[in-house]
């Protein structure tokens, strides 16, 4: 009888033992599932209406440009300061400058509105790479100033500027004629060599990025629209990629690209030296290039690309696209879309809105997550993105 019982319990013991082995294996070698992107809404604000809180001492303020005004928000979404402007504003996290209709001088103010300094130049200010630049003389000159109002340098331009970018090491200017101008930290001009087959290119877009600096230039002249088909529309525009690490500009790659460019064409260089550019013909796409300039992927977008930011810690890119025509189904506002994709062009998340004006106001990497602040007309939204 006992023998019978023993014979019946043996398979159970074997099963339990096998289960224990499986559990041990699972514990020792946990299954690695596909990472998931979580997107969590943090806060929303309407800076023109919400109350201004006393945020004295708040260190990390987020500057946001609005229609007819601007605001500084705390990372928690409180309004630390807001101002009105009739002709626009240039602002960074350390100061802001109101534009004027016919400027005679510029007044810099602290983010709390306190007077900071006067810049004795008649022009339009812009902050780029943390530097204050002023475009003056009806677009014929550009100068750099300290935030205390002292001029560092000034130069005349061969033609009005279409594009500009700056880092702490370089400044690159894209005028309408005469080719791009690159200035290094010492004030010396960096020679870019031959512009290739292009005879009189328009410099539509310039972008600096990465460490050390790399430079991307979108130039050329768009082919006449009447002659343009997807088959013939190649070579009118050229994207050139330079390495500026050696103190000179070494051409890494030059690609003929299709599509019509303009001053709002998207070209973005990221910290890992990958590059994104937008193309809106025949269909809107964003094209990712490897650091050596070779093609990585194409990502279809619902509308032409306007801006792209890097969520470096994830690592993901967020691409903002928007249409120009008002959509009757969306209250006659133009449609807009935000797509978050990985480096292979796979879309991890996307959102759509309708707004006359959409910008990525701010983005940063905090505590293993990306914080992005998006401005939709008079609203400001903040989302936290994390890969788990």
């Amino acid at each position: 009888m006992q023998k019978g019982i023993s014979q019946r319990t043996r398979p159970l013991r074997h099963t339990l033992a096998a289960l224990l082995v499986v559990v041990a294996l699972v514990v020792a070698y946990p299954a690695r599932g596909r990472p998931e992107l979580t997107v969590r809404a943090l806060w929303a604000s309407v800076p023109a209406e919400d109350p201004v809180l006393d945020a004295t001492g708040s260190e990390a303020l987020i500057p946001v440009v609005l229609d007819g005004g601007f605001a500084y928000l705390t990372p928690e979404g409180s309004i630390a300061y807001r101002g009105r402007t009739a002709y626009g504003v240039a602002l960074c996290d350390a100061a802001f400058v109101n534009h004027s209709r016919t400027p005679s001088q510029l007044v810099l103010q602290h983010p709390d509105g306190a007077y900071r300094s006067t810049v004795p130049v008649a022009g339009y200010p812009v902050f780029a790479g943390g530097r204050l630049l002023v475009i003056a003389d009806a677009g014929g000159a550009v100068s750099e100033w300290t935030l205390e109002g002292d001029r560092i340098w000034r130069m005349e331009l061969p033609a009005p500027l279409l594009s500009l970018d700056a880092s702490s090491d370089h400044l690159v200017l894209g005028p309408l004629a005469g080719g791009p101008i690159v200035i290094d930290q010492s004030g010396a001009r960096v020679d870019l060599g031959s512009p290739g087959a292009q005879k009189h290119p328009v410099v539509y877009r310039v972008a600096l990025g990465g460490t050390p600096d790399r430079l991307a230039i979108l130039s050329g002249t768009a082919p006449a629209a009447d002659d343009r088909t997807p088959d013939t529309d190649t070579g009118g525009l050229v994207l050139s990629l330079y390495d500026l690490a050696s103190g000179r500009a070494d051409l890494l790659a030059r690609r003929a690209i299709s599509g019509a460019a303009n001053a709002d064409a998207l070209v973005a260089l990221f910290s890992d030296h990958r590059l994104l550019y937008g193309r809106d013909y025949p269909d809107p796409v964003v094209v990712g290039l490897e650091p050596d300039g070779s093609l990585e992927y194409e990502l279809s977008l619902p509308y032409p690309a306007r801006a792209a930011v890097e969520l470096s810690g994830l690592p993901l890119y967020a691409v903002l696209s928007s249409g120009a025509l008002p959509d009757p189904a969306r209250g006659f506002l133009p449609p807009a879309s935000l797509v978050v994709a990985d480096r292979a062009g796979r879309v991890a998340a996307s959102a759509r809105w309708a707004a006359a004006s959409v910008t990525i106001a701010h983005h940063e990497w905090i505590d293993h997550a990306g914080l992005m602040t998006i401005r939709l007309d008079d609203r400001v939204l903040a989302v936290r993105m994390e890969v788990r």
Partner: protein
């Protein structure tokens, strides 16, 4: 024989260029000048012409392709601020690039659009860094990399009024001596500065603008001569000291022509300023500056 062939070739080239230039049209109907090429425009030299028209429509000076469009309400919208406001850039077959600035932002063509003389490309506006509703037209010669005076390329406007030499000073440092009133100066070097205006017709407003050419002769010797047909801008390398670049060698801070430095000798010296407009109207201002002694001045 060879020389004759060359002369024929030159004549043909000139005729061809003239035919090309005559094909240009004013970008606005009923044009009236508000500022000419080279006018001192509040701290900088205008590299084009400022025009007002009887109608608000803006048309290209000749057929071409739109190569860039910037839409800015007042230089302040998102994106790079635009001192030219909203503007359209057209490339033409003859290596000229024309820029139509300070347009209304609402009605603009698309990049790549082929435009003819009858294609409306914008509306006269006041966007960007400008003090009144008008069009600024810039023409860039892409081959030479220079701004070209658009008045050389556009059809002539009737003009019978000669430029005026309004003020002439001999500057000794910060001190200005009006040489129209004061004909005796202590011997020594003086910079001659002058306000010289043109009043082309038809023109708008009370603004005087730069004559086409200015020549300054002292003691029978040419000291200064400028003809405003082209302007080359070499982008200088940035310099790390303030005030390093004097961009306005042509004008002083008060908008007066800097005609050069003369040495007032013991005795007298005759100075002559000749200002001419594009239609050939000319004004000549001549005066004698005599030296005086320190004792006489006391």
């Amino acid at each position: 024989m060879r020389l004759r062939a060359r002369l024929w070739c030159a004549a043909l080239l000139t005729a061809g260029l003239a035919a090309t230039l005559h094909a240009w049209q004013w970008p606005v109907s009923g044009p009236a000048l508000h500022a000419t090429f080279g006018t001192e425009a509040g701290g900088f030299v205008l590299r084009g012409v400022q025009i007002e028209g009887s109608e608000p429509g803006v048309y290209p000076v000749e057929a071409g392709v739109v190569v860039a469009v910037v839409a800015r309400r007042d230089g302040s919208d998102s994106g790079l601020p635009s001192a030219l406001g909203s503007y359209v850039v057209v490339d033409h077959d003859n290596s000229f690039r024309s820029v139509y600035a300070h347009l209304e932002p609402g009605y603009l063509p698309a990049v790549g659009q082929v435009v003819g003389p009858a294609t409306r490309i914008g509306t006269v506006g006041s966007s960007g860094q400008i003090d009144r509703r008008s069009l600024r037209l810039y023409v860039i010669d892409l081959e030479s990399g220079e701004y070209v005076n658009p008045l050389l390329l556009l059809p002539d406007l009737p003009d019978r009024s000669a430029p005026q030499v309004l003020e002439v000073y001999a500057a000794d440092g910060e001190v200005l001596f009006d040489v129209r009133l004061l004909h005796e100066l202590l011997p020594g070097p003086y910079e001659i500065v002058a306000r010289i205006w043109d009043r082309a017709a038809p023109a708008t407003g009370a603004v005087g603008f730069a004559p086409y050419s200015v020549r300054f002769v002292a003691g029978g010797q040419e000291i200064f001569a400028v003809t405003k047909d082209r302007m080359r801008i070499e982008p200088q390398a940035a310099r790390v000291e303030p005030g390093a670049i004097n961009t306005q060698a042509l004008y002083n801070a008060d908008g007066l022509y800097r005609l050069g430095t003369i040495e007032v000798p013991h005795g007298s010296i005759e100075i002559t300023i000749i200002a001419r407009d594009l239609a050939g109207n000319a004004t000549t201002f001549t005066t004698n500056i005599s030296s005086r002694t320190e004792e006489a001045s006391e």
